[in-house]
Symmetry: C2
Subunit: 207 residues, 2 copies
């Protein structure tokens, strides 16, 4: 039956739809995306979309997931720097922040989940939460190690991890929302953020 070929073709058309969607979003943003615009771009009739996607949200979800996965991938590329927990934490989050800032629309869309016509709170949110908890665990362990090494003051590592995550989170959103912040100031903000957080973590009575 040539089923393999058929499957390939299906994937091809799915990709075409997503490509067209990407194009529309790139030009008019998520709110400018419509099924008819997509199908006009690939010379199909509107109905076709519903043979390859369940609905419009599924398309948006695919696009957003794409961007968010790029961000998540940047986390997993963080090398375990066994020696210095501060460096590991800082490096990891800096990468995360930069990745998030590189795909602001998708990051925002991901956050705005369950909000005005963006996403349903299904797979993507679940995935994000899972991935976040994984990051939180890694962060918590790094803090725990810092405490054991005597670099950080005694504290609840998991709670501290949440607090740090939260701060990073706010930093990203702030930068995205504010928009047009010069790179130089972004760097300073990141630098100061970690400085403050690490000072807060570190044991007292140090230089």
């Amino acid at each position: 039956m040539g089923k393999r070929r058929q499957l390939l073709k299906q994937e091809e058309i799915k990709a075409n739809i997503l490509n067209a969607a990407r194009k529309v979003v790139a030009e008019e943003g998520f709110q400018g995306l419509s099924i008819r615009k997509i199908t006009k771009l690939i010379d199909y009739s509107p109905g076709i979309v519903y043979h390859y996607f369940q609905n419009k949200e599924a398309i948006i979800e695919a696009l957003v997931t794409e961007g968010y996965e790029r961000i998540l991938a940047s986390i997993s590329s963080v090398s375990r720097n066994e020696g210095q927990p501060e460096a590991e934490i800082k490096e990891g989050f800096t990468k995360y922040i930069r990745a998030a800032l590189a795909a602001p629309e998708e990051y925002k869309a991901f956050l705005l989940n369950e909000n005005p016509s963006v996403l349903t709170k299904t797979s993507l949110l679940a995935q994000g939460i899972m991935e976040r908890s994984r990051t939180l665990r890694a962060l918590g362990e790094a803090i725990r190690r810092g405490i054991e090494m005597g670099r950080f003051a005694p504290c609840d590592p998991e709670l501290m991890a949440q607090v740090i995550w939260t701060s990073v989170f706010g930093l990203i959103i702030k930068i995205i929302i504010e928009g047009n912040i010069p790179q130089e100031q972004i760097d300073r903000l990141i630098e100061q953020e970690f400085k403050l957080l690490f000072y807060g973590l570190m044991v007292r009575n140090r230089h």
Copy 2:
């Protein structure tokens, strides 16, 4: 001509429209809001809205501004605690956080400005930025006072204010997005957040 009465009536109808809009939003959320639903509720025809508001966004903006103004009002009620900058900062932000969490939809909508079909980046955003910068200034001054009093380590007060604001910001968004976090844990998060931030601010060599 009874112009005063006319003005009153206009305001009355405007209020009716907004009330109806509030009702729809309360039941179906912002994405469920439509002009026809509003006018059906007050027994008018759809066109009437455009004699009292420029467009749908103006209605949404009015609703969101309302919620956000409540939040901002909570800031201005913070008493200047000249003696203890930490207490002043903590009290102020705690109030702000609680107010934001009390009107999560509006707070989110305000943030999501320029995002999917929520708001235009006009008055509201400008207002938010102004109000924020005012808060930032107050926060910066509190930090400066803390430094002068020898409680905080020397630093750039304005930059530190931004960093702290950012963290608070992240905390709020996190709690709103996550949803269904027990009050008890929210309190712990707030408590820890400030603990970490203040530890970071405080001078070294202290108990």
